[in-house]
């Protein structure tokens, strides 16, 4: 059974909670004691419907203020797949939460109300999903029951959204007309929308091909830890431990180590105590080489004819996550794969308005929840690929030295002169 991660965003009004509730309830993933508690609480707060946000809104501050302050992770399984939902609140800290949820997602689920069509929030969600390069998008046109299950209305919304997405980097988009409240096209196909011949949402989530979400082409293995047992039986053992970022490594492959530039041959791959012939993402493994190269944490194994860019200067789309604005000229700790260094913000090219896609070239700083294109210079060489080609070697975070807070999330883009 495979694991599929997806992210949702929106407010209570567009029926997101009802939809997730239906998925969880119909797959028997909510416990009775949890559901009873949520029903009790919803009544006490005089909500018209059961608000499933209360399932995970357990923090004191959330209960007191009646808001969701953080990404909530929910889990459910069918006989075909296991699912992790990163459910992000629609309003407070929207960008910060959405970016966090999308960073590991295979799929982003965008909900629109059939009566309202595509609104600012739907566009913003699409922009962020595209920026984070979430491989699959699903547009759920909800509340079809309130527009008489009208095919024309559905097609109109679908076309509107598709035309917006042509301005973005969206590879796979599926639109599904649903009624979360009545269950139309959520778990099983709707009886009332016979004009729709696509899958139900759950069927789509269960059967969507996600094998190609990973990059299996460019071999990249960031070394995390060197295994050297001080025991007689493993006297000469030296294993480079790490998680395969992308590509496939096989016993017998000639690999190149960065930054040294020296090459050697893979003589063995140990996957958590078992000897295997090949390693691919997201496996954690230990690679042994024929030659005794000086390799340590932060180094990277790749192929002689397929290597990442090695350099100290890079351009990236950076999402700012902290109250204190990003400073041009400021220095931050940068964490990229298993490498840590420091980075200087050289310049801000523009700030991106995630609602209109407008680029503000006059911007001089990035504030909380803002995104912009930034040039950085690192104190150490980084081994990176463009984020849209490689979500593991193309991402980094920035940490503020004084507070140790994570303040920025970066997606590396190709440098333009």
């Amino acid at each position: 059974m495979e694991l599929l991660r997806f992210t949702t965003a929106g407010s209570v009004d567009d029926g997101k909670s009802t939809l997730i509730g239906r998925l969880l309830y119909d797959t028997k993933s909510i416990f009775e004691d949890q559901l009873e508690a949520v029903e009790r609480e919803s009544r006490a707060r005089r909500y018209e419907q059961v608000n499933l946000a209360l399932l995970t809104d357990g923090l004191r501050a959330e209960r007191e203020q009646g808001i969701t302050i953080d990404v909530a992770y929910r889990y459910f399984a069918t006989t075909k797949r296991k699912f992790v939902i990163a459910d992000t609140p629609g309003h407070v800290q929207y960008t910060r939460n959405m970016v966090t949820g999308a960073s590991t997602a295979n799929l982003a689920l965008i909900l629109v109300d059939a009566r309202n069509g595509v609104v600012e929030q739907s566009r913003r969600h699409a922009v962020l999903s595209s920026l984070l390069h979430v491989p699959h998008l699903v547009l759920c046109v909800n509340k079809m029951d309130l527009v008489d299950y009208d095919q024309g209305r559905f097609e109109e919304i679908r076309e509107d959204f598709e035309s917006f997405c042509t301005r973005l980097d969206v590879e796979d988009l599926t639109a599904i007309p649903i009624s979360a409240l009545n269950g139309d096209n959520v778990v099983s196909r709707s009886q009332t929308m016979d004009w729709y011949d696509g899958p139900s949402l759950l069927h789509h989530l269960e059967n969507l091909y996600i094998g190609s979400d990973r990059n299996l082409i460019d071999p990249r293995f960031p070394v995390q830890y060197v295994l050297r047992p001080q025991r007689a039986e493993f006297h000469d053992y030296r294993g480079y431990a790490g998680q395969v970022a992308s590509g496939v490594f096989q016993v017998g492959d000639e690999v190149l180590a960065l930054p040294s530039g020296l090459s050697s041959t893979i003589v063995a791959i140990d996957s958590l105590g078992q000897s295997v012939q090949e390693a691919f993402p997201p496996m954690s493994a230990a690679i042994r080489l024929a030659d005794d190269l000086d390799i340590s944490r932060g180094d990277m194994l790749c192929r002689v004819h397929n290597r990442p860019t090695a350099g100290q200067d890079l351009d990236a789309m950076v999402a700012w996550l902290a109250e204190t604005p990003m400073r041009v000229g400021g220095k931050y700790v940068i964490k990229h794969t298993s490498r840590t260094g420091r980075a200087l913000v050289g310049g801000l090219h523009y700030r991106l308005d995630v609602n209109s896609l407008h680029r503000d070239l006059e911007a001089t700083t990035l504030g909380l929840n803002e995104i912009g294109r930034v040039s950085l210079r690192a104190t150490v060489p980084l081994f990176y690929d463009e984020y849209r080609r490689n979500r593991t070697t193309g991402c980094f975070v920035l940490v503020e030295e004084a507070t140790n807070n994570t303040v920025g999330a970066g997606m590396i883009v190709e440098k333009t002169g």
Binding site: A72, Y75, L216, V399
Partner: protein, 301 residues
């Protein structure tokens, strides 16, 4: 299919990545090991992460003095097998030293007292990373906690002030005196834990399987009689076939009626369960709706 990992193998690979990050970036990590199902899976992940090396950090048990003897036996066997160092932090010692006071009553729980013992041990050994087996599916306050969860110099958790956590990049930076709690099983569910135990053929303490036991009913839970637990005047003792779904302090951990004798039967039972594991078995979470958050803020597991 080629180049495909199962869901369990994916979770395992991600958790091993987290365990190795900690070993690489921290000076003095420690792994909390109680002998319970989550911590024994965590210990297995650490074993596999560093094979063929020994686990490069000690394990620690916060011993309330009210533990199930079967679980302590299991703990000691496993520690000996892996040849890892065991640190026992004793709540009794904290009471004897006057750091905490025993609550009144015939079978008062030492659950909350553990926090002081734990924080004292972290300070004494200068541990800077503390692995725990908590999962996001088990409790609301845990659902929103980070994999790398920052604790200030008082061991406190501030849920409103958590560091954003993206991709597989974990920020473990901290000042001296502060530490990070690390939860590699964050994305595992109760079912995943049991399926993994079966996949790896791991031994678990015997009380997880159905057995005959003298119990009495208290606040809807089946509590075992024993040296630390006395039934009240109106609490009638009877014998039943039970098993434990979670393993904690004898005074506040309830059993469930079950004859499940094999891992397969437990997995089937977990799949069919309609009540969450903490709701079914923990008196400590029944104190209030935010009982877990309140304890966690103080530095609890």
């Amino acid at each position: 299919m080629r180049f495909e990992l199962t869901e369990l193998d994916t979770l395992e690979a991600e958790s091993v990545h987290i365990v190795r990050e900690v070993a690489a970036e921290f000076e003095r990590p420690v792994l909390l090991f109680s002998g319970g199902k989550d911590s024994l899976v965590l210990l297995r992940l650490a074993e596999k992460a560093f094979w063929p090396c020994r686990i490069p950090f000690p394990v620690m048990h916060v011993d309330t003095g009210h533990n199930f003897p079967e679980v302590l036996d299991y703990r000691d066997r496993r520690v000996a097998e892996l040849d890892v160092e065991l640190v026992v932090a004793s709540v009794q010692a904290s009471i004897d030293a006057g750091r905490v006071a025993e609550l009144p009553g015939p079978s008062a729980s030492r659950n909350r007292l553990q926090t002081t013992t734990l924080l004292d041990a972290i300070a004494e050994h200068r541990f800077d990373a503390v692995f725990g087996g908590a999962r996001r599916d088990e409790e609301k306050a845990r659902a929103k906690e980070r994999v790398f969860s920052f604790r200030d110099e008082f061991g406190q958790w501030d849920p409103k002030n958590q560091r954003p956590e993206l991709w597989n990049l974990y920020n473990g930076r901290h000042h001296p005196g502060e530490h990070i709690r690390v939860f590699p099983l964050s994305n595992w569910t109760e079912a995943d834990v049991w399926e993994y135990i079966a996949q790896e053929s791991l031994e678990v303490p015997s009380i997880y399987f159905g057995h005959r036991r003298q119990v009495f009913r208290r606040d809807g839970l089946l509590i075992s009689t024993g040296p630390h637990v006395a039934p009240g005047e109106h609490e009638e003792v009877f014998e039943a076939t039970v098993r434990y779904r979670t393993v904690g302090d004898m005074t506040c951990t309830g059993a469930v009626e079950s004859a499940a004798a094999t891992l397969e039967e437990i997995i089937a039972e977990v799949a069919a369960a309609r009540i969450g594991e903490r709701g079914a078995t923990r008196a400590d979470d029944k104190v209030s709706e935010t009982a877990m958050e309140d304890r966690k803020r103080e530095g609890y597991f």
